[in-house]
């Protein structure tokens, strides 16, 4: 699909400030970091989760456990996509039972990824609660799922694309709105 760049939604500074703010909000809403664990959804959600965890550590001076979740095997479209997506690593090296889990992803769109992630998480144990943190909420939900922590709400049309770039994978930090050409 050919697409052209339309607008920069967030630049590197904004990405950094936003992650800091979200870290503070998570600590505030969780009333500290007791029993707090962070789980990122592959691929960019994992890097965001690690960054949020680092910010929380610098606020609270204590380490927060971070895990990664690959939702490929829990997708609801196995029958309708052209071929099977590559399965990536899921690594949750701690028990999530009775923990406060913050699930992290880059973009919240239809909500189907989060649905899959919730199903998978629950196979790992019974958390006390699960909250959702996303860098961008672009609207157009197809399931009744809402985020608890949002970097930026940015309503879009279904013809647009929201690309989150992160240094760890893309070499730079920013969020770009693209449109199908």
């Amino acid at each position: 699909m050919v697409s052209r760049k339309k607008k920069v939604i967030m630049d590197a500074k904004e990405v950094s400030w936003t992650i800091k703010r979200m870290a503070h909000e998570i600590v505030e809403k969780s009333y500290g970091i007791k029993d707090l664990v962070i789980v990122g959804i592959q691929t960019r959600g994992v890097h965001l989760a690690k960054r949020i965890a680092r910010e929380i550590e610098s606020i609270e001076n204590k380490e927060v456990p971070v895990g990664s979740l690959d939702i490929t095997l829990y997708r609801d479209d196995v029958d309708s996509i052209a071929h099977q997506p590559m399965v990536k690593e899921t690594a949750i090296p701690f028990d999530i039972t009775d923990k406060k889990v913050v699930l992290v992803d880059d973009v919240l769109f239809a909500g189907r990824t989060v649905r899959a992630a919730l199903d998978e998480l629950i196979d790992f144990g019974r958390p006390k609660l699960i909250r959702l943190a996303v860098l961008i909420d672009r609207g157009l939900r197809e399931l009744p799922i809402q985020p608890d922590f949002v970097g930026k709400v940015y309503p879009t049309s279904s013809k647009e694309l929201v690309c989150v770039n992160l240094k760890e994978v893309d070499g730079e930090d920013n969020v770009i709105l693209k449109e199908e050409a």
């Binding site: 052209a82 590559m86 690593e89 196979d123 144990g125």
Partner: protein, 312 residues
């Protein structure tokens, strides 16, 4: 990247990229086994039929577990307790399964080529679980996965397959696969158990294990198939053990990190000694675990459908 076929009939028909894809997909599936819930949903609502015309415990249960861990429904049909015993032909059995909307048929048959016939007759994905002395592709894949995991690579390794090459579908699948992945393959056994012109498959033949043992990275020990030894192809089991048995004594001349594998079931004290089979060099129990992961990867990837996608 995806598999370019609806069936897995043999490693002869896969290319290097496809083999790599299966091995890489097997890794995250193996990670699942450490979770408390080992089951994931991608094949929910699919039906896997296990059609076994020859006895098997290991392969059948491994496929069954793989399918169940992917949330598929599994039907077991063994020839001795089904309409096959009443004289139904392979193709009629297949048509019946198709009418029941099976998505996958895993078949083991004593005739080479039986899975190919099925594949050409019905739309379900056919997986060859051993056809005569032809191929046993998932065993080949799990052996390669085991080597890859232990050694970090396949290319450039010297791998020997020792024993009854003549009757071994495991050997043939290993040879096809390992050659494609760039390993050097040696076959070693009594002359009567080495098929003529096996060199044409791209292997080196040795009749004395001790000539080459010092160079090997991996040794895959085949089972002496008692059920096929009525032809008196070697004088005695004791003599076989003397010359080809994998013992501590013989391995003294081997590399420190030589990996020993066996597809099972083992005849302890004949082709392999108990102390070697249970040593840290041996990956024999690991092979069983890897077998489930590799079969999950195959089922998962075949479910992806392709241009010929009769299924859906």
């Amino acid at each position: 990247m995806q598999l370019r076929q609806k069936d897995l009939l043999g490693l002869e028909y896969l290319d290097k990229e496809e083999i790599n894809l299966i091995l890489e997909t097997a890794r995250p599936f193996k990670d699942l086994f450490t979770r408390s819930v080992k089951k994931v949903p991608p094949l929910r609502g699919k039906t896997v039929v296990l059609l076994f015309y020859e006895p098997s415990t290991r392969t059948r249960t491994s496929f069954e577990l793989a399918a169940k861990r992917l949330s598929a429904d599994v039907l077991n049909i063994s020839a001795s307790t089904s309409s096959v015993a009443k004289g139904e032909s392979l193709i009629d059995t297949a048509k019946t399964l198709e009418a029941m909307k099976a998505d996958f048929v895993v078949i083991r048959h004593s005739m080479a080529g039986a899975p190919h016939i099925l594949a050409s007759k019905i739309g379900a994905s056919i997986i060859n679980a051993g056809d005569g002395t032809h191929e046993h592709p998932t065993q080949g894949l799990l052996d390669m996965f085991t080597i890859w995991e232990r050694k970090g690579k396949l290319s450039g390794l010297k791998v020997a397959i020792v024993g009854d090459i003549l009757h071994s579908r495991v050997a043939r699948s290993n040879i096809w696969g390992l050659n494609k992945m760039g390993a050097k393959v040696y076959v070693i056994g009594p002359a009567t158990l080495i098929p003529p012109r096996i060199e044409d498959m791209g292997v080196k033949v040795y009749y004395d294990l001790d000539d080459i043992i010092g160079e090997l990275d991996v040794i895959n020990v085949l089972r002496i198939q008692m059920e096929r030894q009525k032809e008196n192809l070697f004088p005695s089991l004791r003599e076989y053990n003397e010359i080809f048995g994998i013992t501590e004594e013989r391995l003294k001349r081997a590399k420190e990190d030589l990996l020993v594998m066996h597809p099972g079931p083992m005849n302890r004290g004949i082709e392999i000694s108990s102390s070697v089979a249970d040593s840290s060099r041996s990956a024999i129990t690991e092979q069983v675990t890897n077998g489930v992961a590799v079969r999950m990867a195959v089922l998962y990837l075949l479910a992806g459908g392709d241009s010929r996608g009769v299924r859906k």
